[in-house]
Amino acid sequence: MATRSLLGKVSPLITVALALFVAWSVIGADPAPNDRSDRIGKQIRCPACEGESIAESPSSYATDMMDYVRDLVGQGLSDQQVLDRLMASYPDSQLLDPPVRAATVLLWLLPAAALVAGAGLAVSRLRKNPPRSPTEKGHA
């Protein structure tokens, strides 16, 4: 019994230690292990093939564009500079990641509104006078 209660005391410490170790390792890691060119390429729609990005499409058009992206990345341009250079000759619709504009703001707002409305509805369903219970918690 004595070992058991000792274990009971040490156990939460082990949990915290493990959590800290995992969190620390992850935070210390390179957050973007993928190739930068690949990441940029995934944001641009391949003009010759519907729906696929230039990083994914095997078509020659896409591979040529990817070569250009690698070239620009090799010259030391930032992600945004590479994108700007490429998108100078293409319409915004070729971006798979829509930029925030007046026309696209709803795209971000609708899901956010659904989240807020849903959470509000759920909280409003809470009983106003909870039954007598000492550990009653009202948080989400």
Binding site: A29, P33, D38, P58, D97, L107, G118, G138
Partner: protein
């Protein structure tokens, strides 16, 4: 001849489903407590079912007989289409897929009828009303078949390899081409393509049944949990089909499309994923109503939403409204499907609003930290998830339709929005089953989750030390292990308690515990499947390596990701419907030969560009995925990629479906227990 037979079957289907709608609705309204086993409905139902089977049979017969006077055959079939793709052509194109819709719907109608006439308590108004709604949906689809999507039109003017003009009148003079161009080459490349669409349709169309019960309950003013209990098994059946259909669809894309991915957030993929999300939310929230009488109104919203999304999916897939890698069809059927969608949404929600006063104000939640609170969180996350997918899918269309301006919404948008939601769902999925109903006290919950949490973090630490420190992967592994560990811990502690009480070994109790509550444990199996899927997605999308383009001549040897690839030669095979050139690549690892793969390019006569078929070398550790972009006398241009734990994705998807199936098998016993509980709304 076959045109005439086919035309007769679709008209018979329209007649049968119309008759069934009227008769079933009439009997639902008239007799609240009749004792007859609805014999009056047998005849129209049989007409509808036989007509649906007949129309598919005639279509397949026309394909097998190479009857190019039938317009559908002329446009989508060729003499050289091999088995089984000649049969699969029957549902590969637009008109045929509508015939499949009708067939699956008729099958469900028959199955529901069988179920309500063979179970112990007699079919009541709720069942009849549901049959009426199913039949009404049938009226629409058979209506499509006799008008805008008639596969049995007679070809009256032939082009070289297709039909340029056709007539719906079966006695018109038939002039068919001597051969057709055949189905889309992508659709005759892999056996999965013959299986995946019917599975998906079984899932899509199956959502009609819970919808029909919901509408029947609303229209007949019979809210309460009875409609949920009647339709619960059907929701599960269609969910299992939908889950396996989506998994096999992703698998097909991976095996056939040759870009190495399995999910592109393509509108057609999204179209199948949205009903899945809402159906999943519905499965969970219906439990809350059955158990606690809460969320009654919300369940109506979800079931209407799930069905509407299947119609939206059919519209997106089959109207050609979106040109995407999947949209093989273009037609004038779009307005009809869109109109039906609007009718369903507006009609259902109007009915819902009209009955709102009769839907009881639910008992209030005692605490958000409870099993109910967990389900509420699950519903919130899944609904927002579906909202994200819906917005991202429709936004470009709506914006273009109304303002003419174009905007692209693709993977980066969907990933950014859904990845946090997915992780939140995963964490909630582990916690939820550990929470008791009503109020969860830390004293109760902590012992249930502490050890699993330690195990999950331990697995995470192991991954950090041995494999990777990439946050997404580590988090997916920790969250996935946590989900599995909570369920396993629960199982073990229940079995241990039972073993202690009965003085038997623990392992003998494991099976008994799992069998004792199939609904719960089936759910846990499905959760484990989702956990596997999450881990596999994180691994394949973060840990893979790729080599974009490399030219190889026969005899060349390259090194990639710890493999050595040796190009040993080229083989060309001429099939009746294609010319396939494949490269033989020998795979070596650590100085040991691992085998050959043969990525290939196929040239179809109907297409300018060749179709690439990848060659995949599989191992427990990862898939090595090779595809060609060029092949000729000088050699090949190769793309290579590794996909770690790719097989876990397929395993996870199928485990998820298996969990749903398991919860179905033993439902009868569970239902018997439920029916002893007093109904929230006693009828009569």
């Amino acid at each position: 001849m076959l045109s005439l037979a086919g035309t007769l079957t679709v008209w018979a289907g329209l007649f049968g489903s119309g008759w069934l709608t009227i008769a079933a609705w009439h009997s639902a309204r008239q007799s609240p407590a009749v004792t007859d086993p609805i014999p009056t409905l047998r005849r129209p139902l049989l007409i509808m079912v036989l007509a649906a089977v007949g129309s598919m049979a005639v279509l397949i017969a026309a394909l097998l007989a190479n009857d190019f006077t039938v317009s559908y055959v002329a446009n989508h079939h060729s003499r050289h289409t091999p088995f089984p793709f000649n049969i699969a052509t029957a549902w590969a194109a637009l008109e045929g897929s509508i015939v499949l819709w009708g067939l699956v719907l008729a099958a469900y109608a028959y199955a529901v009828w069988r179920r309500v006439t063979t179970r112990q308590d007699r079919p009541d108004a709720l069942d009849r009303g549901a049959l009426a709604v199913i039949a009404a949906v049938g009226v629409f689809f058979f209506g499509l078949m006799v008008t805008v999507a008639n596969p049995f039109e007679v070809c009256i003017e032939a082009a070289a390899r297709s039909c340029s003009s056709s007539s719906p009148f079966p006695f018109s003079e038939a002039v068919g081409p001597s051969d057709g161009a055949g189905p889309n080459p992508l659709l005759q490349n892999h056996l999965l393509m013959a299986i995946h669409p019917p599975l998906l349709y079984l899932g899509y169309v199956g959502m009609t049944v819970p919808f029909a019960y919901g509408i029947s309950a609303l229209a007949l003013r019979r809210p309460g949990a009875r409609w949920l209990r009647r339709s619960g098994a059907w929701t599960r059946i269609s969910w299992v089909f939908l889950t396996s259909g989506i998994t096999l669809g992703a698998w097909w894309a991976y095996e056939v499309l040759g870009w190495g991915g399995y999910w592109a957030w393509d509108p057609v993929e999204n179209a199948s994923f949205m009903p899945w999300l809402i159906a999943t939310a519905f499965l969970h929230s219906s439990l809350v109503q059955e158990r606690r009488g809460m969320l009654e109104a919300w369940n109506f919203v979800l079931v209407i939403g799930a069905f509407s999304l299947t119609i939206l999916g059919t519209f997106l897939t089959r109207s050609g409204v979106i040109a995407s890698v999947h949209s093989f069809t273009q037609s004038a059927i779009g307005p009809a499907l869109l109109g039906f969608l609007v009718l369903v949404v507006v009609g259902s929600f109007t009915l819902f609003a009209a009955r709102a006063t009769q839907i009881s104000s639910p008992p209030r939640l005692e605490s958000l930290s409870s099993r109910e609170g967990g389900f509420l969180l699950n519903n919130l996350l899944l609904s927002v998830y579906a909202m994200v997918v819906l917005t991202g899918t429709l936004y470009p269309l709506v914006l273009q339709a109304f303002t003419g301006s174009e905007v692209g919404v693709g993977r980066p948008f969907f990933d950014r929005m859904t990845v946090p939601l997915s992780f939140a769902l995963l964490l909630a999925m582990g916690l939820g089953p550990a929470l008791p109903w009503r109020v969860a006290r830390a004293k109760v919950v902590w012992p249930r989750v502490h050890l699993p949490l330690q195990i999950a973090l331990g697995v995470g630490a192991l991954v950090v030390m041995t494999t990777t420190r990439i946050g997404y992967v580590v988090l997916a592994v920790v969250a996935g292990s946590w989900v599995v560990a909570v369920a396993a811990h629960r199982l073990l502690s229940q079995a241990r308690r039972a073993a202690l009480a009965r003085q038997t070994p623990v392992r003998k109790q494991l099976g008994r515990v799992i069998r004792s509550d199939r609904g719960f444990w089936g759910g846990q199996i499905a959760h484990a499947g989702v956990a596997l899927v999450a881990i596999a997605i994180a691994a394949t999308s973060n840990l893979g390596q790729s080599l974009d383009r490399v030219d190889m001549s026969p005899g060349d040897r390259i090194e990639f990701a710890g493999y050595e690839l040796v190009h040993t030669g080229v083989a060309t095979v001429r099939n009746p419907n294609r010319l396939t050139s494949s490269a033989q690549i020998q795979i070596w690892r650590n100085g040991q030969p691992q085998g050959w793969v043969e990525p290939s390019l196929s040239q179809f006569p109907a297409l300018a560009l060749p179709i690439a078929t990848p060659g995949i070398h599989r191992s427990i550790r990862e898939d090595l995925y090779l595809s060609l972009t060029r092949i000729d006398e000088q050699g090949v241009t190769l793309r290579a990629a590794t996909a770690p734990l790719q097989w876990v994705l397929w395993l996870g998807g199928l485990t998820c479906a298996a969990g749903g199936f398991y919860s179905l098998v033993g439902r009868k016993r569970r239902r018997a227990r439920f029916s002893q509980l007093p109904d929230a709304h006693p009828e009569g």
